[in-house]
């Protein structure tokens, strides 16, 4: 029942949005619909609902984390959208609003599905639902971005499907009750799975979902899509849409760990994690376009997530925490970046400088978000990144630790150069800038909320969250070496 609500409510909201024919009122559907969704999620926190549809739907700690992150972020972003869409009157926002709620529906499906096939379907739906959002600006650049996004996305989805088939074949010869792709079935029969097929499945799922998640070298669509879509869409892409494929990879990892080949999966994850960080470092240095810079930083964060999971139990705990911290911080960054973009009519260092004078709050938030995302205390990402570092050192993997720290340093240098030149200095002498407005209440309220949470989590990790994170990490590492 509750699952039906979780997926159905946003779906309904989306359909309503399609039905309503008034650009002024339509956006107001979102906050209310999403608030209901959020309250349902809150109910899930109180008591985890049991499995439904003979085990196909079930919220475990992993799913709960992703679900809550998505619900919270979309709720705040929908509030931001009220103001944003009011400013973008020249566009019809029917498709935008509808797709936003469809995204939530698809993501909820991914989060609650306890079956690899169903999870894949949800991922597919999410991929499709986000495309119109990326294309919202309807200009050549956004078209190109959407094209690349869809091409890469469909390829990734295809590979993920192939991976799912591999997973099925790993269970052969399959007899008995239940569906072979049920997580529970897979885990319970972990011992009997055929390892070559399982390995193949993991690789295909990693590449397929990794493409959607944006791990290097599968990330190349990211800067374009993030750079050309509206800031709020960027926030959702970087915060929510990356969490779902990560969940998919985690499920595959869960099975591998249960089947006792965690080492194999971890080695690949560490490799791809460091590779992603290195790639991000290379492209962040001297990046003049601050939205593309954020995209690369997101590539880096994905790498950190993969690395964390690759570093064993402690690392996985940190990685899951980092998934949440990164989502919220990216929320701050993309929303404030969007404001700055609007305040200057450009998203490169050449157009935008001296933001602190023209859009003080957004600029300050942008600066703080940058400091936070690069892992400085007292902000939340620091906690998780430090824990990952400790996990690496405790595992006596000094090489990995060294690379991690070094890449963090390089990335910080690259980002700082761009961010500071955007935030500080004198704004360009503006002649026709009255069309470009500075801060407006709702659009700084949303990132402010995110920032508050980031600071809070950086100073105080509530124990209810810790228990869930711990449970999820335990799920990941059952039987892991």
């Amino acid at each position: 029942m509750i699952y039906l609500l979780l997926v159905g409510v946003p779906l309904l909201v989306g359909l309503l949005a399609l039905a309503v024919d008034n650009d002024e009122r339509r956006p107001w559907l979102l906050p209310f619909g999403f608030a209901i969704h959020a309250s349902i999620v809150a109910a899930c926190w109180r008591t985890l609902p049991g499995p439904a549809m003979d085990g196909w739907l079930r919220i475990d700690d992993l799913g709960l984390l992703v679900l809550s992150l998505a619900s919270a972020m979309l709720l705040v972003c929908s509030v931001y959208c009220l103001e944003y869409l009011r400013l973008r009157r020249e566009r019809r926002n029917r498709l935008f609003t509808a797709c936003l709620s469809f995204v939530l529906a698809a993501v909820s499906l991914v989060a609650v599905s306890h079956h690899m096939g169903l999870l894949w379907v949800g991922m597919e739906a999410a991929t499709l639902a986000i495309a119109p959002l990326v294309y919202f600006n309807h200009n050549e650049r956004s078209l190109e971005a959407t094209w690349k996004y869809l091409m890469m996305g469909s390829l990734g989805i295809g590979l993920a499907l192939l991976g799912t088939f591999f997973l099925t074949l790993a269970t052969f010869p399959f007899q008995g009750p239940g569906d072979p792709l049920l997580i529970d079935t897979l885990l319970s029969r972990a011992g009997t799975l055929s390892l070559p097929w399982l390995k193949g499945a993991f690789i295909f799922l990693l590449v397929g979902y990794g493409t959607k998640m944006g791990l290097a070298p599968l990330h190349s669509w990211k800067p374009d899509a993030y750079g050309e879509s509206p800031g709020v869409v960027g926030a959702i892409l970087a915060g929510v849409i990356t969490a779902c494929p990560f969940l998919g990879i985690l499920r595959a990892f869960q099975v591998c760990a249960a089947a006792g080949i965690a080492g194999f999966a971890q080695s690949i994850l560490v490799m791809i994690g460091l590779l992603s960080m290195a790639t991000a470092a290379v492209f962040i240095i001297g990046q003049r376009d601050f939205k593309r810079m954020l995209a690369y930083s997101s590539v880096e964060q994905m790498g950190i997530l993969a690395l964390g999971v690759g570093l064993g139990p402690a690392g996985s705990f940190a990685a899951l925490l980092h998934m949440i911290n990164n989502g919220l911080t990216k929320g701050v960054l993309f929303l404030s970046a969007g404001n700055i973009h609007r305040a200057f009519g450009g998203k490169t260092m050449d157009h935008a400088h001296g933001a602190l004078r023209r859009a003080p709050v957004s600029a300050a938030l942008f600066l703080l978000g940058f400091v936070a995302v690069t892992g400085s205390p007292p902000f939340a990402p620091f906690v998780s990144e430090f824990s990952i570092l400790r996990a690496a050192v405790n595992g006596h993997r000094l090489g990995v630790a060294l690379g991690f720290v070094g890449l963090l340093a390089v990335i910080f240098i690259g980002m700082a150069t761009t961010v500071l030149s955007v935030v500080y200095g004198l704004p360009p002498s503006s002649d026709s800038k009255q069309s470009l407005q500075g801060d407006s209440p709702l659009m700084i309220a949303a990132p402010l909320v995110f920032m508050a949470v980031v600071v809070f989590l950086g100073l105080w990790l509530p124990d209810w969250l810790t228990t869930v994170l711990g449970g999820a990490a335990k799920l990941l590492n059952t039987g892991a070496a």
């Binding site: 379907v121 190109e144 469909s154 192939l162 088939f165 099925t168 269970t171 010869p173 800067p223």
Partner: protein, 214 residues
Amino acid sequence: MEQFSQLLLAFIVFLSLYLLGSSSLTGCINIMALQGMCLGFLPLTVRAEGFHSRTLLLAAGMFILKGFLIPRILLYAIREVKIRREIEPMIGYAPSLLLGAVLIGVSFVLAERLPVPAGLRTSLLIPVSLATVMMGMLMMISRIKAITQVIGYLVFENGVYLFGLAIAYEVPWLIEMGVLLDVFVAVFVMGIIINHIARAFDSISTEKLTRLND
């Protein structure tokens, strides 16, 4: 029966190679249609379980969809944007053919490392599907025109579908759900995109789509 399926599979690989080599768009689309029909026949042959109503339905669906529906859409698309031939691809035809051969080899090597799933009538299915997948990717990589990339993507899908046949029995709905949804959606959305591309750039080539870079 087994011989027949083997024959079909070999034919499918051959068709993919032919696709790699051919330059005329209509030709490509027709060959794809042909490949789709072969895919339609396969479910009846590869599995030991013989003729279920489900299998029949699946076969018919594939036959119609991949054999007729999608080719129609694609032909409509190229008529819409008025182009016939693929301009010079990124990788020439001969090299891409060679690469295709190499990829077939690779896929057989990989298939060697995987145990043959039980209940499969032919051991050829897995390598062939992998090969088709890879050649589809190769086509997406080596071609300039958006439409040919779509065709490549369809070849890739065919490969995935072939693979799905191996498990069509144990996982009743996945293959239909997955492949149909996937193919349908991908081609549909891309059709729209292509139209947009046509309008935005008055050409269907992705040459123009290289503004966003570092």
